[in-house]
């Protein structure tokens, strides 16, 4: 009998430390070897692409002149490359080199056709962003760079330039007893706006650097008046936006142009569209400028602002809802299937640190969904835009960086939704409850906010507070305070800024992941 106990068996392999990379590799192996999950990821990509192409193919536009249908003219582009509205009446002359224009505004009035509630009368009144003032513009063609000092219908004096920029001056309106003096000084590319109540003591409003001004520019008086907007809920869901024709008139005197002028005063209806002219303009009061004894009355309609009316790039990828649902189902199954089959016990035996296992799963499923979204966006954005161009539809142009953000955003949206769904799966351990919860959290608020008859106030809350706030990352056009528009989720304007919206979704995903890790630690499998 030997006294010593036999030495216990020890493996000769070096002790392996549980490395996170190994966990990720293990989870990736699980994912890619389940045929249904890989098929789901591919199906999500294909569905998103197919629906984007359906949206593109289902959008046509043609502008008819009588029986002949022609392609719609592209809207003018501003100096920043964005589509702009540029329609106004311009009484102008040429200025060579540096100089200034000064004018006194003594009255401003206008008409609004058929406003609510009656929709049966033409009333006198100004829309909030009716504009009248002095302007320096590179040329009297739509889209040319400009700077202007103006009085608005309800937002006081403003200095605006190059369509997107807007600086506030003093508030208030104008009357015979309280006239407004406006002055714009040009020195090279630098334009400075001033205003005054008496024409003697001037206060500076702002300074603008306007690139693209040639030596000779057009200076003069202008009047514009954008359409009056009413929004009504549509009976079949969505909303009906109506813009009504408005016109504004302004009375100027003490008009003075300093500097080297050339040629006579000219009258130009900038951006005039004969076909869009209303009966009011044709038969009652035409736009124009009339002078008698130094008093000049200018009448105009239209707007000088970024254009928001048109097809937005991201409409091609918002068809991603069915793809998003597929991603949610796959992500939930990625964890609940382990519970069903008992694989979770093996998984946790191999990697006992449960939080890290969950992190590895989140990384794998999030990365797969991100990739699915990126691939879909990379295909559907260029292809859809090509189809739209072929259908004669003008897509509002956005900078390359914004385009990239929309594509990346689709990937991030799918990725974070997958992480949230996976975490809910780990939390509930039941696939149906997790799928319903994830769809109710991410997809349903978006559907309710954009496609239902529920009120817009509810839509704003839903897309600000729920995980569906992440859809904001797809918004391609910014809000402009100086443009009256229907800024609603259904029109592609979300209550939160793009990255903030995505951060809300990321926060929910992180919270769910944290809860799942905490529950996983406290429970037997």
């Amino acid at each position: 009998m030997s006294a010593g106990a036999a030495a216990p068996y020890r493996s000769r392999l070096p002790a392996a430390r549980e490395r996170f990379a190994h966990l990720v590799r293990a989870e990736w192996t699980k994912f890619r070897t389940v045929r249904g999950w890989v098929a789901g990821a591919v199906a999500a990509t294909l569905l998103t692409v197919a629906l984007g192409l359906v949206i593109a193919a289902g959008s046509h536009s043609s502008c008819g002149a009588g029986p002949v249908e022609t392609a719609c003219p592209a809207p003018p582009l501003g100096p920043g490359g964005q589509a702009v509205e540029d329609r106004f009446f311009f009484l102008h002359r040429r200025l060579e080199g540096d100089g200034a224009i000064t004018a006194r505004l003594t009255a401003m009035s206008g008409v609004i056709t058929y406003p609510p509630p009656g929709h049966d009368r033409i009333v006198s009144g100004l829309v909030p962003w009716a504009k009248a003032g002095v302007m320096v513009k590179a040329a009297a063609r739509p889209g040319a760079p400009y700077a202007a000092v103006m009085l608005t219908g309800r937002h006081g004096v403003r200095m605006q330039h190059d369509f997107t920029e807007d600086v506030a001056g003093r508030p208030g309106g104008v009357s015979q007893h309280a006239p407004r003096w406006l002055r714009l000084v040009r020195a090279g590319d630098t334009l400075t706006g001033y205003e005054s109540a008496d024409g003697r003591s001037w206060s500076r409003i702002g300074t603008a650097q306007v690139a693209g001004l040639t030596a000779a520019v057009e200076v003069g008086l202008f009047v514009a008046s954008p359409g009056d907007l009413t929004v009504k809920p549509g009976s079949a869901g969505g909303s009906i936006v109506q813009a009504r024709f408005t016109q504004a008139s302004a009375v100027f005197d003490h008009l003075a142009v300093e500097g080297r002028t050339a040629g006579a005063w000219q009258r130009t209806e900038v951006g005039d569209d004969e076909a869009a002219m209303t009966d009011w303009e044709r038969f009652h009061r035409a736009n124009g400028a009339a002078e008698s004894g130094g008093v000049i009355t200018v009448t105009g309609t239209g707007d000088i602002a970024p254009r928001l009316d048109g097809l937005r790039t991201e409409m091609l990828v918002t068809g991603a809802l069915p793809g998003l649902i597929v991603v949610i189902v796959v992500a939930v199954l990625f964890v609940t299937a382990e519970y069903r089959r008992g694989l979770i016990r093996t998984t946790l035996l191999a990697g006992p640190r449960r939080g890290r296992m969950l992190a590895a799963k989140a990384l794998v499923v999030g990365a797969v969904a991100l990739l699915a979204g990126l691939v879909a966006a990379a295909v559907v954005l260029p292809a859809g835009q090509a189809i739209l161009r072929g259908n004669g539809v003008v897509v509002l142009p956005v900078p390359q960086l914004t385009q990239a953000r929309v594509a990346l955003g689709l990937g991030a949206l799918l990725g974070l939704a997958a992480v949230l769904a996976m975490a809910l799966g780990a939390l509930f351990r039941r696939s149906v409850a997790a799928v319903v919860a994830a769809i109710a959290a991410v997809v349903l608020p978006y559907v309710l906010a954009t496609a239902s008859v529920l009120p817009e106030e509810l839509a704003q809350w839903l897309l600000g507070l729920t995980p569906a706030a992440g859809f904001a990352i797809l918004q391609s056009l910014p809000r402009y305070p100086q443009v009256t528009w229907h800024y609603a989720p259904a029109e592609g304007f979300y209550p939160l800024p793009p990255w903030a919206g995505l951060a809300v979704l990321a926060g929910y995903a992180a919270l769910a992941l944290g809860l799942a890790a905490w529950r996983l630690r406290g429970r037997d499998t």
Binding site: G36, L51, V54, I55, G58, S59, H60, S61, P116, P117, H119, K232, P233, G234, S235, A236, G237, G238, I240, L311, M315, T318, G319, L321, P322, I325, V326, I328, V329, V332, L333, T336, R340, V393, S431, V432, A433, A434, V435, V436, I439, A440, V443, L444, Y446, V447, L448, T450, A451, S452, V453, L454, P455, E457, L458, W461, A490
Partner: protein, 256 residues
Amino acid sequence: MRRELHAEWTKLRTLPGTGWLLASVVALTVGLGAAADALAGCPWRGCGHDPARLALGGVQLGQAAIAMLAVLIISGEYGTGLIRATLTAMPRRIAVLAAKATLVTGLALASGSLAVLGALLAGRLILPGSGFTAEHGYTLAADGPTLRAALGSVLYLALVGLLGLGVGAAVRDSAAAIGVTLGLLYGTAALPYLVGDPDWQRLLWRISPMNAGLAVQATRDLAQLPLGPWQGLGVPAAWAAAALAAGAVALTRRDA
């Protein structure tokens, strides 16, 4: 058939989730409807909102619980393997599916009636405070159209249940089945509003079970709807019939 009904009812009755799901149909429908009632505004004559659709808007959320119940009633049995015991005891598979369909319909009608009544009551209480008054021309009256909206909403919920049951029988995997069901309901609802062409819009709207089915809730501007109220309800009915047929075929042809 009575045996099958009794067996299915016993199974369903003894599951703790059933009661919760039915209660959540009522809570979700009334809750979202009340929120919509409170947040909507009707400041002037002709504000355009349809008070019945606002009050019953919560059906869009409540239907998720019905769909979940309906999917689980069949795919849950596949998940646990109970389906083999069920089919051994009751070999007439179509009768089993019919019993399940009867139960789903009955429970959906019962919980849907409660939910719709609660939502209408909430509307009667809340909507006048949001400006839906007689002088603005918008009241939630107890008239024919409102009755149709209420009755139609209950029937819609039953059709959603049958759709979920059919999909559950055809797909079997519960996660995939609920994904398909909610994908049909929610995934297709936003599409018509993203397409520019009016003809495409109407087509996509007409084939979407949720958009077309909820047309039954409309009480105003019926002429502007792509489908009439009862015709609209025919769309989810057609989807439910197709799903049930596919489910019946799958159930009889495949091994459990």
